[in-house]
């Protein structure tokens, strides 16, 4: 697989590292990672960088992941780029909200490398 430019949005630097490591273990070895500590940072970064994949937490201070997703779609930033939410919130309502806001995938924390592989790789192949 060619180089995959990925934006990881999470207020926890530890989780950003874990997500990056999991993506590499899932088979995305040619990964170029951009990190954002908030939804606002993520939007700013997308105005200057092209990415192929976005992974975002939901529970974040100042701008949560769902608002980030709405603004991302509303401002037409990264059109066609798959977004996967990675969060501790796991109810059907939360999944429904994320999908309605424009997410293509949903991974509940804690997660396994297999779950990352199953839910992320098909989106990249389809994009």
């Amino acid at each position: 697989m060619s180089e995959i430019r990925t934006l990881i949005v999470d207020d926890s630097s530890v989780m950003r590292k874990i997500v990056e490591r999991s993506l590499r273990q899932a088979g995305l070895e040619s990964l170029v990672v951009f990190e954002a500590g908030s939804g606002v940072e993520g939007l700013d970064l997308l105005k200057i960088q092209h990415v192929d994949l976005i992974l975002s937490d939901i529970n974040m201070p100042s701008m949560d992941g769902l608002e980030f997703l709405r603004q991302l779609r509303g401002q037409n930033l990264a059109p066609g780029v798959p977004v996967v939410m990675i969060t501790t919130e796991s109810s059907e309502e939360h999944v429904k909200q994320a999908i309605q806001s424009g997410a293509q995938g949903y991974i509940r924390k804690p997660f396994t490398v297999d779950q990352v592989r199953e839910r992320v790789l098909p989106l990249l192949n389809a994009a």
């Binding site: 207020d11 926890s12 630097s13 530890v14 989780m15 590292k17 874990i18 490591r21 939901i58 529970n59 974040m60 201070p61 949560d64 769902l66 969060t87 501790t88 919130e89 796991s90 109810s91 059907e92 309502e93 939360h94 429904k96 909200q97 309605q100 509940r108 924390k109 804690p110 997660f111 396994t112």
Partner: protein
Amino acid sequence: MLLNGVRRAAIALSGSSGIAVGINGTEKEHTMVCSLRESVHLVSDPKNLDASVEEVFKLMLGVNCQRYTGPVESAEPESVTAVVGFGGLLSGACVFRSGASAAIRIATHMTGMEFTEVDDTVKDGIGEICNMLAGTWKSKVPNLAANCGLSIPAVISGRDYNMHVQAPEFKLHHTFKFDGASFEVTILCDGLQ
């Protein structure tokens, strides 16, 4: 004071994330009549807490972690406490507490990095562990998963501090061990609708 702030944040989050407001009128009505009172035996089931801790540590740290019911050794002078508040049908908090050495060991397992002290990365890692414990625990009860929000984790570290909570409705307080290190997880419920 800290706990009250965390709970307020969780209640605010549960509102903003649409937990109390459905997609349409029907769902809103359904949400309004939803109650956890009939599930209280599930909510307070101690097995859910043990299973949540084992799951989070197995998946995120790759270690087997089990509940420990023996005598607790004398505490280290420095400790780390993380709090994630619950808001919505259940109000309360999930509290993680360990000595500095256990916190460092957990952060090392999470990141693959070496730490010599409880720095911001260690505190960040412990906050995330507490966040995942809270999320996994509430996912064990269907009504709780859908109708209870989580706050952003708050983490305290230092020496010689105590946490005081006024009489909760129920409390689960378990000690766990992995690789010779121990930590405590407490679920506090001070309101159930």
